[in-house]
């Protein structure tokens, strides 16, 4: 630690066990959070580079840098890592663990040991995933959706990958159980439901989905493994099974999963916007309830991924209808965020920039979702690059940006140091521009009819693919810049006080980085709402 030295090192130093074991065996939510954060970032970088490779292959028709089989493995691994190892645990497991208990005024989650266990499940899952790539007869090549009958026939290492996803689901479930219980049982005195920060609300909704949806993925993957080992034929038409049933079971989890991905992001945004507008979140209850509605309605729409699968037209009618209903709560959130800005005192600090970027990208992604939700439109768009564009807009432009916003917002709290704002802004600009170029081009080429999961494409799609690839490079530069800047900030940024942003939730009233027991000897007592900024001043840094 050079120049301005940090006097208190909070939970980094005062731990019962010192050294590496002090981390690996720690049941402290902050340390577990940090461990999650490191793994998740590593995973993101790996998968992101795979994304770059995908784009490189697609810079021109025909085989450019890899053959078909390699390409299939690449996007499969890219998808599996991004979904199960990056985006699903990203905000809940990393920032949820870091922030949630403190925001509640608790000293830890309800089941600290279970919390550690869930981290180990994550690590085991990650290891299995990596092993699956480099062992057996080749990396899985099923796409992250594991559709049967292909997944039961291919000779690649699908079973192991499925097992990995199973462990990761386990980890996600344990986190969910922990959060629901914590939010119900460990709120500090005076922390009424009406005073919960919106981040907590969104994690609460998320946790319920994690508990009630994830096991379905578990059993589905187990069935795939059994199919491959016994050839039971539960999904094999020739033996009285039904391939479409697999898709039902898979999406029963995987659609709600997309809300596991986005809800925590929305929570982050709902924290950042009020802070940097110094104004209470507009329509607190509307936003809180809309999180719960999304969580619930999200479990009603899974088959909108199956319009062309050969399922009944009646089902298409029902699911298309429900799909549009689920858009409403998201719309409400967007409107409330924007109104919060009205007559505020807005500071465009890096976290705020990412938050605004989130709103823009997520709106595009979500509105694209509406096109996909409409029966007729989806017939054309299904499994084209429009879908790829849609989910990158929602997952990367949505949750990804929210995750970066959270990094810029909370890292100073948990490291006690501030990164360089100018570089952060430039990085954001590059990332934002590059992002939109890349995925706008993908959506466009999708509308033209380019199917996804193609290593080779018809010549008429070339231009837009080149654009997308160039965009991904801009994005890459932006990202590298951002990571570099954050890293430098963590190492030797200016030391910050308790509350650099002038935020009103509990975590900003304790030292940064927080001490091991969060609040010192006696438990905190909450007397005001989470966005009541009267008398809150930002400390200089």
């Amino acid at each position: 630690m050079t120049e301005t030295t940090l006097t208190n090192k909070g939970f980094y130093t005062d731990s019962p066990r010192s050294g590496i074991l002090g981390w690996l065996l720690s049941t402290d939510h902050k340390r577990i959070g940090i461990m999650y954060l490191c793994c998740i970032l590593a995973m993101f970088i790996v998968a992101a580079c795979l994304g770059l490779l995908i784009r490189l292959e697609l810079i021109a028709p025909g085989v450019t840098i890899m053959k078909a089989q390699t390409y299939n493995a690449t996007f499969t691994v890219h998808g599996i890592i991004m979904i199960f190892l990056f985006i699903i645990p990203s905000v809940p497991a990393a920032f949820g663990n870091l922030v949630l208990p403190i925001q509640l005024g608790a000293r830890d989650v309800s089941f600290p040991k279970v919390n550690l266990l869930s981290w180990y499940c994550y690590v085991i899952g990650a290891i299995l995933a990596v092993v699956a790539i480099f062992s057996g007869d080749g990396a899985p090549d099923t796409g992250w959706t594991f559709y049967v009958p292909f997944s039961t026939q291919t000779h690649t290492n699908v079973s192991l990958a499925a097992l990995a996803a199973f462990m990761l689901g386990m980890s996600s479930i344990l986190t969910g159980i922990n959060f629901v219980t914590t939010i119900h049982r460990l709120r500090a005195k005076g922390m009424t439901w009406g005073r919960l920060p919106m981040f907590v609300w969104s994690l609460y909704a998320t946790a319920w989905i994690q508990v009630l949806a994830t096991p379905m993925l578990g059993i589905t993957l187990v069935l795939v493994i059994l199919e491959r080992t016994f050839g039971a034929g539960l999904f094999d038409a020739a033996r009285g099974g039904d391939p479409v049933m697999f898709q039902h079971l898979f999406w029963i989890y995987s659609h709600p999963a997309v809300y596991i991905m986005i809800l925590p992001g929305m929570g982050v945004i709902s924290e950042i916007i009020p802070t940097f507008a110094r104004k209470p979140l507009f329509g607190y209850w509307a936003v809180a309830v809309s999180s719960l509605t999304i969580a619930f309605a999200g479990s009603l729409v899974w088959a909108h991924h199956m319009y062309t699968s050969g399922m009944s037209d009646f089902a298409i009618l029902v699911f298309s209808f429900l799909t549009f209903i689920v858009a409403i709560p998201s719309a409400i959130k967007v409107f409330n965020w924007i109104t919060t800005l009205y007559k505020g005192s807005i500071q465009l600090a890096p976290p705020m920039l990412f938050a605004l970027g989130f709103i823009f990208n997520f709106s595009i992604g979500g509105l694209g979702g509406l096109a996909l939700g409409a029966a007729a439109a989806d017939i054309h768009l299904h499994d084209t690059y429009f879908v790829v564009g849609h989910f990158h807009y929602t997952m990367f432009g949505g949750l990804g940006f929210a995750f970066f916003a959270a990094l810029h917002y909370w890292l100073p709290k948990y490291t006690g140091r501030m990164y360089n704002h100018r570089i952060a802004v430039i990085a954001f600009a590059l990332l934002f521009v590059g992002f939109n170029v890349t995925y706008m081009a993908m959506q466009a080429v999708g509308i033209q009819g380019m199917p996804r999961r193609y290593y080779d494409y018809l010549p008429e799609f070339t231009t837009l693919n080149v654009v997308a690839t160039l965009g991904s490079w801009v994005m890459a530069i932006g990202l590298i810049m951002m990571f570099y800047n954050l890293w430098r900030g963590v190492r030797k940024g200016a030391v910050v006080g308790n509350n650099p942003w002038g935020a009103a939730t509990l975590e900003w009233q304790i030292p940064s980085p927080p001490p091991m027991d969060n609040f010192g000897p006696e438990d905190p007592v909450v007397t005001k709402g989470p966005y009541d900024f009267k008398g809150v001043v930002a400390d200089e840094y």
Binding site: N72, A238, K279, F321, I332, K343, I359, A376, D383, D456
Partner: protein
């Protein structure tokens, strides 16, 4: 997506335009308002917020109701147009499409198999889709139609092309290595060309009278002419063939001759080929005249001057989608190339050990019928067995390949 004036494309485009239009408006509104607020209420101008309004039930209900209305219109528009994609005109020409790794096969009402779709202009076409292995999906962007092909299930799409031309078809359900190469086209022809094309193959098979009788009488409904099994015994290469038959109680072996055949037609139940049930109706003169019977028998015994339907190996290989994996030009992609296969040695893996042998007819036959038995070294076992082909067709293919 070049806007086409064909019914299915219009149905989809209407929906797309409506939803994208609305989305664009909403997005613009949101973005503009946000930017306006961010600039107007920047902290340098307003160090403190000038209002702490934190809820207002009226506007909140408004912007709950409005989106509901908007999305409901979108939903209805999407659904009502979807109906158009499912309701096939009655006069539609029906073609059966079979997807397999990694090629398409289309079967016409007259039983002709092709690997492209040839249709007359302006005529509604209904494709009945199915798959023999994994999921595939039939996607014709120009017509905005897409439907998965599911093993053990028949799905369908329909379209109608107002202009002649060639339109791309892509596979949009991930199905393995060949997924991106599983392309074909819809060839829309003018009425005349289509009529020509239909005749096209008939000239090839100048049908001998005997065969015509067989077809007229519907014999071929139960008896195949190419050796493939069916309800009744096949009529493939009967001349002098030996058969086990049940004659009054005991099974005896006879060699097929004219007398036997005639008896089998006039009074089938007296001599039944072992293993088959007595179910064939007797055909007397009133149904099949003696001349016809004679020509039929001649044909079956190969006496008639038969211009056998020439089976073109090259065409078979093309139509059965072999080229989805095997190349003709020496490039090895998913599978070994056909170039020079006729005279080259292959190293194969037979139960673990590596064997090198010369390519010959029975090697090729094995490769076609039980591909996984002898795998060419370095290639994954993924080729489907071609046992759905008749022996005649297999022979034709092998001959062709050996000539390479």
């Amino acid at each position: 997506m070049n806007p086409l004036n064909n019914p299915t494309a219009q149905a989809v485009d209407n929906t797309l335009i409506y939803i994208f239009g609305f989305s664009l408006l909403l997005l613009l509104a949101i973005t503009v308002v946000t930017i306006y607020f961010v600039i107007k209420y920047r902290r340098s101008k307003y160090p403190e917020p000038t209002s702490d309004a934190h809820s207002n039930w009226i506007i909140e209900t408004i912007w709950t109701i409005v989106p509901i209305l908007i999305v409901l219109t979108m939903f209805w528009y999407g659904w009502s147009n979807y109906i158009g994609l499912t309701s096939v005109p009655d006069d539609a020409l029906e073609i059966n499409a079979t997807a397999r790794m990694w090629s398409w096969q289309f079967e016409y009402p007259d039983g002709r198999r092709t690997n492209r779709i040839y249709v007359p202009v302006g005529k509604p076409v209904k494709l009945n889709l199915t798959s023999v292995d994994v999921l595939h999906s039939f996607f014709a962007p120009a017509f905005r139609i897409k439907k998965d092909t599911v093993p053990g299930m028949t799905t369908y799409v329909w379209f109608s092309a107002p202009e002649t031309g060639s339109y791309d078809v892509q596979c949009t359900e991930y199905c393995g290595v060949g997924h991106a190469d599983m392309l074909t086209t819809i060839e829309v022809m003018s009425e005349e060309d289509y009529a020509e094309w239909l005749k096209g193959d008939e000239q090839k098979t100048a049908e001998p009278p005997g065969l015509i009788v067989l077809n007229e009488q519907g014999c071929t409904g139960c008896h195949s002419l190419d050796g493939s099994a069916n309800i009744g015994p096949s009529l493939f290469e009967l001349a002098g063939a030996k058969r086990q038959i049940d004659r009054d109680g005991q099974t005896i072996e006879i060699s097929i001759d004219e007398a036997y055949l005639k008896k089998a037609v006039r009074e089938p139940d007296t001599e039944i080929v072992s293993g088959y049930d007595a179910m064939m109706p007797p055909y007397d003169e009133s149904i099949i005249s003696n001349e016809d019977l004679q020509s039929m028998v001649d044909y079956l015994l190969g006496k008639a001057v038969v211009s056998e339907p020439v089976l073109d190996g090259a065409e078979l290989i093309d139509n059965n989608g072999c080229l989805g994996c095997h190349s003709n030009d020496g490039s090895t992609g998913i599978a070994p190339t056909f170039q020079g296969i006729g005279n080259r040695d292959v190293t194969i893996e037979r139960d673990g050990r590596e064997v090198t042998l010369k390519v010959d007819a029975d090697y090729l036959r094995r490769a076609l019928l039980e591909p996984d038995a002898d795998l060419v070294k370095g290639y994954p076992p993924m080729m489907p067995a071609s046992d759905y082909l008749s022996p005649a067709e297999i022979d034709a293919m092998i001959d062709y390949l050996l000539k390479q």
